[in-house]
């Protein structure tokens, strides 16, 4: 797969089939992940795959509670705005429906990838590796999405996964994976020239890209 196809079409893919992901594909995903650079090349990362049904079941319960909390706190204003004006908040409602489908089917994801980091204050060392895992998954036809919402539970998830409390390892994220039920495509985004500047904040970046520069056509 061409790098641009992967970069343009790896969107959050939450609706997946329960079909298992082979260990060959899992190895490709993680072996790509560890090639990412990390701060000072410290490689202070650890990866934990979960495919045990009992653990998945416990995660599903906790994920549902965390999502409930998420929409009552961080997304409270947007959720209320969407009730008042559904048409004007279509992208938010689309995202929420996607997340709700993940809640309903969380225990049926065939695989979860958890990322852990140590001394990575910014996330600048773990997330390139995680995103590489998601891009490699895309190349193998596997959809994924990244969530940090399980952090609402404090140590409950690391405890469930057996992470020693005094190890210094922090859970960075959970990435549910599976083969998509839907199609890959380029997600709509605010264009570059609306979110980019040159030399000084607020100054034009110097080019406009009203349409995606890559398409499958």
């Amino acid at each position: 797969m061409d790098i641009y196809e992967a970069l343009y079409t790896t969107r959050a893919m939450r609706r997946v089939k329960p079909d298992p992901i082979s260990t060959d594909v899992q190895a490709k995903i993680l072996d790509a992940a560890i090639r990412a650079p990390s701060g000072g090349n410290q490689q202070n990362w650890a990866f934990l795959l979960v495919d045990d049904p009992a653990i998945k079941g416990e995660l599903a319960t906790m994920y549902g509670e965390c999502i409930d909390q998420l929409f009552k706190t961080i997304y409270k204003d947007q959720a209320e705005a969407a009730v008042a004006d559904p048409d004007g908040n279509a992208p938010f409602l689309k995202m929420r429906r996607s997340v709700e489908s993940a809640v309903d089917n969380f225990a049926d994801y065939p695989l979860f990838l958890f990322g852990f980091s140590k001394g990575d204050r910014t996330g600048g060392s773990i997330y390139p590796a995680i995103w590489s895992a998601q891009l490699a998954a895309r190349a193998e036809g596997v959809g994924s999405s990244l969530t940090t919402v399980l952090a609402f539970k404090g140590d409950a998830v690391p405890d469930l996964l057996g992470v020693p409390g005094d190890s210094g390892w922090a859970m960075s994220c959970c990435v549910p994976m599976g083969y998509p039920t839907g199609k890959w495509g380029v997600a709509p985004r605010r264009p570059v020239h609306e979110v980019s500047y040159r030399n000084q904040w607020g100054q034009p970046v110097g080019f406009e890209t009203p349409e995606p520069l890559w398409s499958s056509d």
Copy 2:
């Protein structure tokens, strides 16, 4: 370029030529970046390109001071260990030489990409986009590296770049870019089975990958 070639060979590339990067290539890099998913699809990101020589000069001074501070604080123990046992700390010394070359030539990078984020506590929303920018750069033959070290200067760098102090935008990272003087290659890493577990922390991941699963051969 194949996705795996990009994922395996996009290492921190700090030694580059001063040759400019065209705006066409810059547009490809940023248009790939904004396709990344972000938490709740909020796209709470902003990108600032710097190619102004006066600003680059000021950044170079600050970067040098930050790197000095970095090796006297976070990497203090490793730096002392490397003095005592250079052979046993070869990867650290290689990284440090690479960083020192960046200090010496910082003002000569043709382009810097700064990433800014809002409400992104973990970095899970900004770093996938930044890493996509670096992978797209790789596809265009442009080398890059990610540094968060300018944060040592507090607000000095955002102030230099004209970021309003009350805007809520946090500087996530700086990515110097340029066409490499050296060759692309697969960086050595601790293998997957040494940094990965399955279902419970410390349990074998279930496969071994002693050699990289992709190579240019």
